[in-house]
């Protein structure tokens, strides 16, 4: 077990933590956040900043996140920079979590915030070694337990094997908004946002450009969407296997026939591809980080993007009339598609950034130009 004294509390009290993977791996460390147990799919993220933003991204719902970068929580938590109301990860795996955050915007430490929200964390893990393992074997399920008392490594190892793959559930339904919310209602133009687990960055990117945003639950049907007389529809990011998101796929399929401008982001991009008749598949370990290079097809331009996805669109499966738009410069996987004639497109990455670079924010302008 690695040592990490930063999370020793004032009275020297230490929580123990164990991360047990379904493949039998057991990692011991120090606990932080909540004394709790959580199962989930263990994935890694290579970003070096923006931890509260990442942790509140609903696309992480059902996942235990391993932060490859070793120093986490230096700037504490700023309630103003969260991407949803609370942390969405099931558990958090780090090398070191900062016990003395320092920033003008910090209101509490990452550990205290996770504790309040019932999320367990493990520190003192060789996150590079874990990342390499996840990269080689692909994402696995695991169990993270934090406790003040003894943990029982052998029992946890057994139980970890029984953790179900969260991608078997309809995760979107678990994170979508329960009711319709309207942002910037006075604006002249309305955009409907189908919330599959939306990051607030998407909402901000739209309202900042002067449109009203009607955020509807993922189960909302096309008729209800059209009832808002939107100039365009955005399908948001979200967690899990896109094939499980049956309702949004059905809605988008209908909307495609209406000739409305459509913009899919993240899971929304996959939903768009499925609605158009394409296929999606699970990546071995996914893309989660803040510096993924994406080539724009047919140009010499390459953009740096923020990403968080475990599934991808099979570009070869797209029906006639559709074309690949962006491609990952590292592994060649599809990162965007568009309809050849109509203003309908989707990107796999997160153009709203937060966290990450905003180099592709211009896509919102492109969309809103179409959605006049």
């Amino acid at each position: 077990m690695l040592y990490c004294s930063e999370i020793r509390t004032e009275d020297g009290h230490i929580k123990r933590a164990i991360l047990a993977l379904a493949d039998g791996t057991v990692l011991e460390g120090l606990g932080f956040g909540a004394a709790a147990r959580a199962g989930g799919e263990v994935v890694f993220n290579t970003g070096t900043a923006g931890f509260p933003e990442s942790l509140t991204d609903p696309s992480y719902h059902g996942q235990i996140l391993c932060q490859t970068y070793p120093l986490v929580g230096n700037c504490g938590v700023d309630p103003g920079s969260l991407e949803s109301e609370r942390p969405r990860v099931a558990g958090y795996v780090v090398s070191e979590v900062c016990g003395h955050p320092s920033h003008a915007t910090s209101r509490k430490s990452l550990g205290a915030w996770l504790e309040e929200n019932g999320v367990p964390g493990i520190a003192g893990v060789d996150t590079r070694a874990l990342t390499k393992r996840l990269r080689a074997r692909g994402a696995v399920t695991g169990l993270l337990a934090v406790s003040d008392g003894p943990l029982g490594a052998a029992r946890l190892r057994r139980e970890a094997r029984a953790v179900p793959d969260p991608n078997g559930r309809d995760l979107v339904a678990e994170v979508t908004t329960p009711e319709i919310r309207i942002y910037n209602p006075e604006a002249r133009r309305t955009i409907v946002l189908i919330d599959c687990g939306v990051k607030m960055g998407i909402v901000r990117s739209l309202t900042r450009r002067g449109v009203a945003v009607v955020r509807v639950p993922a189960g909302t049907g096309a008729d209800r969407v059209l009832a808002f007389s939107p100039r365009g529809v955005v399908v948001s990011n979200g967690p899990g296997d896109p094939e499980r998101a049956a309702a949004p796929i059905a809605a988008v399929r209908r909307l495609l026939g209406e000739g409305l401008p459509l913009f899919g982001i993240g899971l929304g991009h996959q939903v768009l591809a499925l609605a158009a008749g394409g296929r999606t598949y699970k990546l071995k370990s996914g893309h989660r980080g803040l510096s993924q290079p994406c080539l724009e097809e047919g140009t010499k331009r390459c953009r740096i993007t923020a990403q968080n996805h475990g599934f991808a669109v099979d570009a070869a499966s797209l029906p006639a009339g559709w074309a690949g738009w962006f491609r990952n410069a590292n592994d060649g996987t599809n990162e965007g598609l568009r309809h050849k004639r109509r203003p309908v497109f989707g990107v796999q990455f997160q153009p709203e950034a937060c966290p990450g670079p905003a180099d592709t924010e211009f896509l919102f302008d492109l969309f809103l130009e179409a959605a006049r």
């Binding site: 690695l2 040592y3 990490c4 004294s5 930063e6 890694f44 290579t46 970003g47 070096t48 900043a49 923006g50 933003e53 490859t68 970068y69 070793p70 120093l71 230096n74 700037c75 700023d78 920079s81 090398s95 070191e96 900062c98 016990g99 003395h100 955050p101 320092s102 920033h103 003008a104 915007t105 060789d126 996150t127 590079r128 070694a129 990342t131 390499k132 990269r135 370990s285 980080g289 803040l290 510096s291 993924q292 290079p293 080539l295 010499k300 331009r301 390459c302 740096i304 410069a329 590292n330 592994d331 950034a353 937060c354 966290p355 990450g356 670079p357 905003a358 180099d359």
Partner: protein, 1065 residues
């Protein structure tokens, strides 16, 4: 754009403060990139100790000054089709801009590749810069560019004090300073105007965070921010003087991406193609920012960023300059992913500048907006504590880490924190130990609390270790200490143990560091990178440790560490050549080094690169994992040499000369005995343990004497002492003498010549040797001496004796490998003053002038594959002269006089038909300008006046108008040399020296100090300082001045031939 076939690359010349080894790295990478693209490369760089000027790099190398006049001649001769300016620092950039302005580039239709000169101008001229950034709504500090002191004062009144005065077009912040009042500003402006005609008076951003981005952009507009870095020291301290971490640690995602976006917009708007550095101030309270500076070229920071991330910035920049675009290029670390990406780090690096201010008695140790540091170290770790403690040790300034240090005592901690010196980092640790709170230290230093808490965690850990005494440290605490970067030695000191006992204990507890890769993508993709570091925050190694693979095995080469005065790029040249030679023989190579400015830390030089400490502990850690054939530690200068015997005793196989012999050469007593045995003379010396003994011995051997204390209070360590009174003062003020801290006193021989022998031996037999003659008499440190090869003024008998002694010492010490012996010669009597059983500073000079790679020969001998060579270098048809580069203009208050302590920061060497031609080229290459009309002479002491008379006559004969100070003036008049007397400032009469120098009425100052009187501040010192501060060329050594005058008489500038290296046969 038609594709060029031949490109001209400008180097940066000698290493100087503000412009150091990083440009050997960037130039070398550029050459590799250009050659990969099929171009013929012509390089101009007088820095002979660089890798870029080595065989197998550029197609043609000109060892010539990087000045418009010489570069124009090379252009006329070579007719290149492309010019590259961004790989040779400010020197190359300024030279290129000058050639563009004076129409030479247009005349020869020579395009500048990469960032266009118009864009460079915008980044260099403050007014254009502010306007360009304002055009796209980016914020720069409020400031006003002025050309006079009065305008500057008006500008400050409108901005409000305090203000910053910064000189435009200046490297490393030369001539800048913060002024709190009109009086201070007046002084600051005067100084700044000596460095540049334009000065910016701007709002003061002290206390804001200082952040840097390294950006690359291609002609298609693709732009990536390769690295962001945060200064530990907030604004107010030059980034070259700051401790720096990468990636940034205390910025939120919003802040770092906002600054990143600003960088990309700025760089695109300016039209940069290639590499660019952008510096920001960030207000920690509200996140407001200012763009402080844009450097549209490779820089010190880009070298750091390159090593910090593994992204080969200079290589990529060269490709982009040729018109390639980022998505076409592949990531040379992973080989499978794209170069159009931003590295993700899963570690952090800490850079600490290396200062050498103790070498200069009169230089203020305060650090600020001007650069004074001479090198830097970079440590890699997975916690800040680990990296910063590693970095502290890497400085090699006698510290064991942040804590447990013996030699630090601060008169006033509060003052140290508020007005930082080079020791502030240690002051912070000390203050925390003394009970200062993090908040209080933050108020005094404005350093972000995050960093202070981390230092506190080291201090707290220290206290817990101390509390263990006398019981052994429990394993949990031992692990925590190792994770926080404590060395075995540090733990031993804190727990009354020994380094070896701690090592044994932690190995029992299976506490060994893990070896991790720097792979640019945080393990997301598999990488075949050989770029490694060790950390205790890890439980598995990233790489396997196999032996051989059927080959002859692998060899570990120890690098030279940080550049400092006395250990510079020449040792990196030796290490790189050693690695390449080993590779050629089929050996696997492992390099250990931690200097981000070097070529040896490029991942394509060796099979495995450990960017880590050169300590006994870490070398042994790596050795135990890698199990190489042995360790080569004779190439990296004194740092690796120092651990030879301990490594040997710990069971490490030290290759080459037996460590016992190294000890025999290093230990003064053993070496003295050896010289006696083989009948070789040395100056009388003795080690003395009290003041009375010291005085008695000095009287016995007679003054002057050379004194070397083992404990230094202030000022330079070594000194020549001319009489009893002088000795008293020295022992009282500068050093301590006691049984614990003895002094060594030796006879100092006046007016003697100094000679060096650089050689290689194979099992005691000399296989190659070269004799180098110093221009300056003995008494000038060999690192500061002007060297001539082959010797021009030595008796044949002297040369024979020197060779003979070399042979005898090689035999007696069973030398296998490189060695260097220093001699003094007076009237054919020869004495040995020093012997080093390692490669010397002059190895690259000797190897390149004589066209025999001494390092390759040494490696062959060491690996048992040597043959007889016996290269002598006396029959060359040309002469090489190596001249020192001083950085006195950066070191306010330093006396620009060479003595027994080394003061130069770099060197150049040029070739010529004779010594005069080579010397003139060399001195011009150090930034000297030839006098046009006027020379000011002041020569101390009757003896020296007499010796210089001939040269004074020659100057008058050449038509120079001679000015002189009182006694020199009178002496010259008596001897028929017409001259005008100038009064010293304190004489309160005119015409005085200050008016003439400040009024730029003097083209050259020759000020020869009287060695016996060089202790106190005196008027001659003030005159020399004035010359340096007003950038007037100055010579302060009698022999060098003589040679300069002879050369001036013998050659006109048009006689200086423009020939490339291979043309000298």
């Amino acid at each position: 754009m038609t594709r060029p076939r031949k490109a001209l690359l400008l180097g940066s010349g000698a290493l100087k403060i503000g412009e150091a080894g990083e440009f050997d790295y960037s130039g070398s990478q550029a050459i590799k990139a250009l050659k990969e693209e099929g171009l013929e490369v012509v390089l101009i760089n007088p820095n002979i100790a660089t890798i870029q000027t080595s065989e197998g790099m550029a197609d043609r190398v000109y060892f010539l000054p990087v000045t418009p006049a010489f570069v124009e001649k090379v252009i006329a001769r070579e007719r290149p089709q492309a010019l590259l300016l961004s790989f040779g620092g400010q020197t190359a950039l300024n030279c290129g801009v000058a050639l563009w302005k004076n129409g030479v580039l247009a005349r020869y239709r020579l395009p500048v590749l990469g960032t266009p000169v118009e864009a460079i101008e915008k980044t260099e001229d403050r007014r254009l810069f502010n306007r360009a950034l304002a055009e796209i709504g980016l914020k720069t500090p409020r400031g006003i560019a002025v050309r006079t002191v009065e305008a500057g004062l008006r500008a400050a009144a409108s901005i409000g004090y305090p203000v910053m005065a910064r000189a435009a077009y200046a490297l490393g912040g030369k001539g800048s300073g913060i002024a709190g009042s009109p009086r201070e500003l007046r002084d600051a402006l005067r100084r700044a105007f000596t460095a540049a005609p334009q000065v910016l008076v701007e709002e003061c951003l002290e206390g804001w965070k200082e952040i840097e981005y390294e950006v690359v952009r291609d002609r298609a507009g693709n732009c990536v921010a390769v690295c962001n870095m945060e200064n530990f020291d907030p604004m107010g301290i030059h980034t070259g003087e700051s401790i720096v971490v990468a990636p940034s640690q205390t910025l939120t995602d919003e802040e770092s991406n906002r600054l990143r976006a600003v960088a990309i917009r700025a760089v695109g708007h300016l039209g940069v193609v290639g590499e660019c550095n952008i510096q920001y101030a960030l207000n920690p309270r509200d996140g407001d920012y200012r763009v402080i500076e844009v450097n549209a070229r490779l820089s010190r920071s880009s070298a750091l960023a390159s090593k910090a991330t593994g992204y080969p910035l200079a290589f990529v920049a060269a490709k982009l300059a040729l018109g390639r675009i980022l998505p076409e290029l592949s990531n040379s670390i992973t080989k499978v992913t794209s170069a159009c990406f931003e590295p993700a780090l899963d570690y952090l690096v800490v850079k600490i500048p290396r200062w050498d201010l103790k070498k200069f008695g009169r230089v203020s140790k305060k650090i600020g907006s001007e650069m004074k540091s001479v090198g830097e170290v970079m440590a890699v770790g997975r916690s800040f504590e680990e990296a910063v403690q590693k970095a502290a040790r890497m400085l090699q300034v006698g510290v064991y880490g942040l804590v447990a240090n013996e030699n630090y005592s601060f008169r006033s901690l509060e003052k140290e924190l508020r007005q930082p010196t080079d020791e502030r980092l240690f002051g912070i640790a000390e203050a925390l130990k003394k009970g200062f709170s993090v908040d209080r230290i933050h108020r005094l230093t404005r350093i972000d609390r995050w960093f202070l808490h981390k230092i506190k965690s080291v201090v707290d850990c220290e206290a817990r270790l101390r509390a263990c005494r006398p019981r052994p440290v429990p394993p949990g605490l031992l692990r925590e200490a190792k994770e926080k970067g404590f060395s075995d030695k540090q733990i031993a000191l804190l727990t009354c143990s020994t380094e070896l006992r701690v090592r044994a204990r932690r190995k029992e507890a299976r506490l060994v560091p893990a070896v991790k890769q720097i792979d640019t993508l945080a393990a997301e993709y598999p990488a075949r990178t050989n770029y490694l570091y060790a950390t205790y925050h890890g439980r598995e190694d990233d790489v396997p440790f196999r032996n051989g693979d059927g080959g002859p095995g692998k060899v570990m080469v120890l690098g030279s560490g940080s550049y400092s005065i006395g250990s510079s790029v020449e040792f990196d040249w030796c290490c790189v050549n050693a690695a390449l030679a080993l590779k050629k023989m089929g050996y696997g190579t492992i390099m250990v080094n931690y200097n981000p400015e070097t070529v040896s830390t490029d991942y394509d030089i060796c099979d495995r690169l450990y960017f880590d400490e050169l300590s006994f502990e870490r070398v042994l850690d790596i050795y135990e994992k890698e199990r190489p054939l042995g360790v080569l530690l004779s190439m990296g200068g004194q740092i690796p040499n120092n651990i030879a015997l301990r490594c040997h005793n710990a069971g490490v196989r030290v290759l080459g000369t037996p460590p016992a012999s190294i000890d025999r050469a290093e230990d003064r007593y053993k070496f003295g005995k050896l010289l006696d045995e083989i009948g070789v003379d040395q100056p009388e010396w003795r080690e003395l343990r009290s003041v009375a003994e010291a005085k008695r011995f000095a009287r016995t051997i007679g003054y002057p004497v050379l004194i070397r204390p083992s404990y230094v209070l202030s000022g330079a360590a070594m000194s020549v002492v001319f009489g009893q009174g002088h000795l008293d003062r020295y022992l009282e003020r500068a050093s301590r003498v006691s049984p614990e801290y003895p002094v060594v006193i030796s006879k100092f021989i006046m007016n003697a010549k100094e000679i060096e022998l650089d050689a290689v031996a194979d099992r005691g037999e000399v296989v190659a040797s070269a004799i180098v003659e110093h221009v300056e008499n003995a008494g000038v440190h060999s690192g500061d001496a002007t060297m001539v090869l082959p010797p021009q003024k030595l008796y044949i008998e002297t040369i024979r004796r020197v060779r003979g002694i070399g042979r005898e010492i090689a035999r007696a010490l069973e030398i296998t490998g490189p060695f260097n012996i220093q001699f003094i010669a007076k009237d054919n009597a020869i004495k040995v003053i020093e012997c080093n059983l390692r490669a010397s500073r002059s190895f690259p000079f000797v190897s390149k002038v004589a066209r025999a790679n001494f390092v390759e020969l040494a490696v062959a001998a060491i690996m048992g594959r040597g043959g007889p060579n016996r290269k002598t270098t006396l029959d060359l048809n040309y002469v090489g002269v190596k001249a020192p580069q001083f950085s006195f203009s950066r070191l306010k208050g330093a006396d620009p006089v060479s003595g027994v302590e080394m003061a130069s920061t770099g060197e150049v060497a040029c070739l010529g038909e004779d010594v005069h031609e080579a010397y003139l080229k060399a001195i011009l290459a150090t930034g000297f300008t030839l006098p046009k009309k006027t020379v000011l002479l002041t020569v101390g002491g009757e003896d020296a006046k007499g010796r210089f008379l001939g040269s004074a006559r020659a100057l008058a004969g050449l038509g120079y108008r001679i000015f002189a100070t009182d006694k020199t003036s009178a002496f010259l008049k008596e001897n028929g040399v017409p001259n005008t007397r100038l009064f010293k400032v304190h004489e309160r009469r005119r015409p005085n020296i200050r008016d003439h120098i400040a009024g730029r009425k003097i083209d050259l100052v020759i000020s020869i100090p009287n060695p016996a009187k060089r202790i106190e501040y005196n008027s001659a010192y003030k005159l020399r300082r004035l010359a340096v501060d007003f950038s007037v060329p100055i010579l302060t050594n009698l022999q060098a001045a003589d040679l300069f005058v002879q050369a001036l008489a013998a050659k006109r500038p048009s006689d200086l031939q423009v020939k490339h290296w291979a043309e000298y046969e």
